[in-house]
């Protein structure tokens, strides 16, 4: 009887839920590793470029697999929209809440409840604000990498003013 209860509980928790926490723990370990093995740069900021680079390589690969049987996107804006909706939903379980652009290569992606920040502070908490950039560097790289594989060279920066919301600034490099 007891065993049966367990079985039904197990089938209730879906696979994707599980994978979700696994990624979060792994991400946390990667952040820890990078912080433990680098010293701060000369401005006294944490040196996060290796995190960004890992994100880049993941983004570059994952977008290639996702879109391999798709028709080409027509415009830059279509790609950005795809990133904000389908792509973000798969990776971070919700869409980007707000997308702004100046139509000259600057896009601001605003996520009101970013998944990797959601567990460290809710409702505008300021407590871990100083530490939050380290949780965003990987995703910045991931964005940059996925755009790169779609043919957009860019720089991506993240900005947090109140947890758990954050903004990703994408600046497209025009040649």
């Amino acid at each position: 009887m007891k065993q049966q209860g367990l079985e039904s509980k197990l089938s209730a928790c879906s696979l994707e839920e599980a994978d979700k926490c696994l990624f979060e723990y792994l991400h946390a370990e990667i952040v820890n590793y990078v912080l433990a093995t680098t010293s701060d740069n000369k401005d006294g900021e944490e040196e996060l470029s290796r995190l960004e680079w890992m994100g880049f390589s993941v983004g570059y690969r994952i977008i290639e697999r996702l879109t391999k049987e798709w028709a080409r996107f027509k415009e830059e804006l279509d790609m950005i929209k795809f990133i904000c909706t389908d792509f973000w939903t798969c990776l971070y379980h919700k869409q980007i809440d707000n997308l702004r652009t100046n139509h000259h290569g600057v896009y601001v992606l605003h996520d009101n409840e970013f998944r990797l920040l959601a567990n460290i502070g809710a409702n505008g908490s300021q407590q871990y604000l100083r530490e939050s950039p380290r949780l965003l560097a990987f995703t910045c790289g991931l964005l940059r990498g996925s755009l790169a594989n779609l043919g957009i060279v860019s720089t991506v920066k993240a900005e947090v003013s109140a947890l758990p919301s954050c903004k990703f600034n994408v600046q497209v490099q025009r040649i």
Binding site: L6, L15, V58, K94
Partner: protein, 176 residues
């Protein structure tokens, strides 16, 4: 959750696989010695394991293990929950303190081929750390290592688990 044109489950597990791959690649770049990479992976797995066990217990509502056979089944269940695979439990030692987990498929190695200079790399070593960490949190000391690896042309991936000892509850000083 909003609808999407992509297979969300698949993307999620690919995200994990690729992120792990990026980590291993970075470690290989950072350390000269492959042994150090193995060690680092194990340590990271340990840190994940001591946190994952809480998720596992909360989700399954499992109680204490009756014996090591029970432990083996729960570890198997853990793989089902977290990685979506069910390794087979085989090769029990006569004393019942050692068993093997055999993996036909391993999501961690989905897109992986080992180059020749990485023959000593235990690509999935994070798993050994996860098991050790998780078991330690439920008062069990185990040892865990790979005996076969599909990445090294073995027919299956075999993870050996050995029971070392039961850890006693530590009682804080002056609190009896």
């Amino acid at each position: 959750m909003s609808k999407t044109r992509l297979d969300q489950k698949k993307v999620n597990s690919e995200l994990f696989t690729l992120t792990y791959g990026a980590l291993v690649a970075q470690l290989l770049k950072d350390y000269e010695n492959v042994e150090d990479v193995n060690k680092q992976l194990e340590r990271m797995g340990y840190n994940m394991g001591i946190r994952l066990i809480e998720d596992f217990l909360a989700r399954t509502g499992c109680g204490r293990c009756y014996d090591f056979k029970d432990t083996a089944e729960k570890i198997q269940m853990g793989f089902k929950i977290f990685l979506g695979i069910t390794p087979t439990i085989t090769n029990w030692s006569p004393a019942g303190d050692e068993f093997s987990l055999c993996f036909e498929v391993n999501p961690l190695t989905e897109f992986v081929e080992l180059p020749d200079h990485c023959l000593n790399l235990k690509y999935c070593n994070i798993l050994t750390g996860v098991l050790r960490g998780a078991c330690e949190m439920v008062q069990m000391e185990i040892a865990c290592w790979f005996v076969q690896d599909q990445l090294k042309n073995d027919s299956t991936t075999e993870l050996r688990v050995k029971f070392i000892k039961r850890l006693e509850d530590a009682i804080p000083a002056g609190d009896d």
